[in-house]
Symmetry: C2
Subunit: 601 residues, 2 copies
């Protein structure tokens, strides 16, 4: 860039080598100290902080201005960089070797008293932070998160570019999609009574791009899902979406691996040298009791059913006789008192267990447990052996229906084993997902969208409850970061899959006949994936919630405390769109007046 009229240097970039330079700085006043008539202020801009010395004798500004300077005033300073006097160097500050002696200070913009301090030492109510997000992002935590999000997206794009992907933008005002009921709708003005939907994902459009011969597509795509709010969901969210033609699962996983390595390198300066662990869905369930295993720690679930095959202990033999399982984990040296152990029992019951057996391995191989007296010496020895237990270890055992056992132990494994921080990163691929989720009553519901290719169509037709699909997930530290699949590329296969999923051919034709037609023009085999960007960055940043990563997030109820959206809209405006607010909704307003609407009318 050429001349900067208002600013010639970044505050945070000044160092001892700049000593003697004249600079024009601009930024915000972060702190102010008066010492013997001289005023020291921390001047902060996007690059960092530098100390500015305002000596009233040098008249950088009128006395009135100097004494009126308050926190977060936006100022311009002309001055000279100089080494700090001996004894005043601040080793904690990157610019701590120098200070800027000001010859001129101009207030560009004053600041009202802040609604909360920006010093990072105070806990602030999240609603307040979101209402004043523009002040919140002057704090280093949010500022660094925004930079990290930008870096992560750039890293992803760089990999995609290097791999020859074409960035293609898909439309966001589309027709209702398969998952229609949760679509967000947009009334059309030109065609009253008709609606666009906002995309839940670019799924069908990226498949159309494959049909269109694009071969390698990617997009940082905004998606919308109007669902109940959970702590890690937003109604609008952003994913790295990509797809490849003439591709199978292997090419997708290798591409994800490149993306993961680059993002981790750029955000954490860590090289992921090992290939990402791969396991089948069945292995994940069997070893970790979940399809999104946290493998930062091992603590696998061990099947103890063999150990108790001939047990006298009724609680176990009954379950085993009923085709259930007895399994356990070695929680390691937990050192819990009786109350702590009882707490684990309660937690197990909360997630569906009838009970939990705990055992503590004591000195000389004896076992302390409420059920020890019901078990044989041989059984106790076998437990210790199968769970590879040492003195001091706490063992947790559940006997129940196999599905319940795995769920409960999967949960307890996280309770006793999961690290608090995200310093360590454990990625995993989970592959070979089942086509259907099987409910307790045996009913089947599709686990993925109906464009996912089955591993074998005959199995899908004959024994759908055991059928495997070519679907795979990426997991990081026990959180699902994204999912993808090999897609169906043949309209006959697609029709069969719809049939097995209980979608009638009329229904399929009505909902996506245009897509079924597209499949009939030489569709290449193709496969793809989508990575949730905010979730990935939040874990890499050690943030508990994706709201910390999103520049302007919404609350869990979908509201924006800053701008007041969503809000009521005048009926005139709705009339132009050919819609009305339902009379019963309007009636509910009358009994409960709306503040926002009042201020908007």
């Amino acid at each position: 860039m050429g001349r900067h009229l208002m600013k010639t240097a970044d505050a945070g970039s000044l160092s001892a080598t700049d000593a003697g330079s004249d600079v024009t700085l601009a930024g915000w006043i972060g702190r102010r100290r008066d010492h013997g008539g001289v005023i020291f202020v921390d001047l902060r801009d996007a690059s960092g902080v530098v100390q500015v010395v305002l000596n009233p004798e040098e008249e950088p500004a009128s006395e009135e201005v100097l004494h009126g300077l308050r926190l977060e005033y936006c100022v311009q300073v002309v001055g000279t960089v100089r080494p700090r006097p001996e004894g005043t160097v601040n080793p904690d500050l990157p610019t701590g070797m120098v200070e800027v002696s000001a010859s001129s200070l101009i207030v560009l913009s004053e600041s009202d008293v802040l609604p909360f301090p920006l010093d990072g030492r105070t806990d602030i109510d999240e609603a307040k932070r979101l209402e004043y997000r523009y002040l919140d992002m002057r704090r280093s935590r949010v500022a660094e998160n925004l930079r990290a999000r930008s870096m992560a997206i750039r890293a992803m794009r760089n990999v995609m570019d290097e791999q020859g992907f074409l960035e293609v933008e898909t439309p966001t005002l589309i027709a209702s999609t398969p998952e229609g009921a949760r679509d967000m709708l947009v009334p059309s003005r030109l065609r009253q009574g008709h609606f666009y939907a906002l995309p839940q994902s670019p799924q069908l459009f990226k498949q159309l791009l494959m049909i269109g011969g694009v071969e390698r597509y990617y997009q940082v795509a905004k998606c919308y899902r109007d669902e109940d709010f959970r702590s890690d969901r937003q109604i609008e969210f952003t994913q790295l979406d990509f797809e490849g033609a003439f591709w199978g699962q292997e090419e997708v996983l290798q591409t994800i691996e490149l993306v993961a390595r680059r993002v981790v390198k750029d955000l954490r300066d860590v090289e992921l040298n090992e290939p990402i662990v791969r396991m089948t869905h069945a292995e994940a369930m069997r070893n970790y009791g979940t399809d999104k295993p946290d493998i930062r720690f091992d603590m696998r679930i061990a099947d103890l059913s063999e150990v108790f095959a001939a047990t006298e202990f009724k609680a176990f033999s009954g379950v085993l006789g009923d085709s259930g399982s007895v399994m356990g984990i070695n929680g390691g040296p937990l050192g819990l008192a009786r109350s702590g152990l009882d707490g684990l029992v309660s937690q197990a019951q909360d997630v569906g267990a009838k009970g939990l057996v705990w055992m503590v391995v004591e000195e000389e191989g004896s076992i302390r447990s409420p059920v020890a007296k019901f078990l044989s010496e041989a059984e106790l020895r076998e437990i210790v052996s199968v769970l590879d237990a040492s003195v001091g270890d706490t063992l947790l055992i559940v006997a129940d229906r196999t599905k319940t056992v795995l769920e409960v132990l999967g949960h307890l494994r996280l309770v006793v084993g999961k690290p608090d921080s995200h310093d360590e990163l454990a990625f995993a691929f989970v592959v070979d997902f089942p086509v259907f989720d099987v409910a307790d009553d045996g009913s089947l519901s599709p686990a993925h969208h109906p464009f996912t290719a089955p591993a074998d169509i005959d199995t899908l037709i004959n024994t759908p409850e055991t059928a495997i699909s070519k679907a795979y997930d990426l997991v990081l530290n026990g959180t699902e970061l994204g999912s993808g699949s090999v897609r169906i590329h043949n309209s006959d296969m697609q029709a069969k899959v719809f049939e097995v999923m209980g979608i009638s051919s009329e229904d399929a034709e009505g909902r996506f006949g245009w897509f079924l037609e597209a499949l009939r023009y030489g569709t290449p085999p193709h496969a793809g994936f989508a990575i949730g960007i905010d979730r990935m960055v939040s874990i890499l940043r050690g943030e508990p919630n994706i709201r910390e990563i999103i520049p302007f997030p919404k609350t869990q109820s979908g509201a924006d405390p800053l701008t007041g959206s969503p809000s009521r809209v005048e009926s005139l405006q709705l009339g132009e769109l050919g819609i009305l607010v339902s009379p019963d909704v309007v009636a509910s307003w009358d009994s409960e007046p709306d503040q926002e609407a009042a201020s908007e009318s």
Copy 2:
């Protein structure tokens, strides 16, 4: 990437140096010729085309498969690259030195008969092309446009990254904006009867980012505008949006210049060596009769009022006596017959002129014109001199209110002077826009959004009709590519501007009180811009319409012929959102059944 199971080489990348290599190709059959029992097919993939030789004697596939091969079948070919036999080299094809002799061919996917040929030699109805966009994009025209769009965006991002901009994503489910009436609305499910709006631009959010200390923001932003359709508008469109703190106009224009240079270099391989021409809005109007001048050609409007100050010609003297103007352009050697000249008169009248005087400069300095006899020798000489006319030139003169004269001549200038192609590129900055557009009745309407800084607040208050704002446009070949401004960074100034614009303080508070509050916390001076990406790429690609550049565009009425959006939605689904379709709209459906809805129910 590691192993490619389905493809080891790109068809379009093969050259003589690959002769002897074994390759696995995958793509589409673009052409098929049978010669003496041997089949030659053009195999096309995203990279290009190569000739594949299928010799039935080498049994690359069963006779049935080979004879069944049709256009756009998706196939995989294993074979050996070899030089083409002498005399069969195709110099028009990048791979024309070689062919691939196939040892195996597998049909990955068959194709129905195409709805239109993909050879690029046939004009196809646009509605049909949009309905089958996925086939349309197999044609080189659309495929190349998609690649160009991707390259343009990458070029823009590279400049932004190099200049230290942070990419920040702003929300798309927001509160209604200042231009509210044209907002697209999204009903909230969790808060029935309340609505989000889709952004017309990220304007207020990018200003909040400046307040938040981001300093350099950019985003490739999707924006929405629910307005009447013109040929170069879409209801969703994409812009390069950026903003800088501690910035004035100069920094913005320099940044735009970097972007323009890079995009032109990457898309056209042309270096823009000269700085982009700058002119004020007043100069643009005076010289070219428009605020988006096409300066690929000069043909400036010349003021002839002085020439006719004392004319006897009533048509001119009357206008001049009435504070009007007489101006003209030199259209150059148009060589038009009388009918062509009459056509120009009609065109002038179509755009508001009462009449048009044409003159043709003939041999020996005499002038042929219907009005020549009313003008003095001196006046005719002066016209030739002021318009710098040579023998054969056609001069076009209009006398009317000054505004009309400029509009008409600005239009005629394009009619007679504008080049057909976009081979030449002429960028221009137009700066110093007026704050208000003045209507014929003298009424004022704001020319820009109310956050635009005025050049001088006192002028704005005292003589608003002559006030200048710090707003500027980028123009390319007579098309506006984008606009921006220095923003107001002070809440008192903002309040005054609202007042002059006729926005009451209650109204301002109700509509963007949250933003006025934000301005009070040390807002830095800031300025920014937005460039319409599709418009820029369409000009650089020489495409007449941005629909050629957008991967999945909508028609002028906002419909998508591919997916059928917008469409009717079941009332149950609307009920969950707390809205209804207006009864009168439903009534209009009864008299006019909807095909789409019928197929969706």
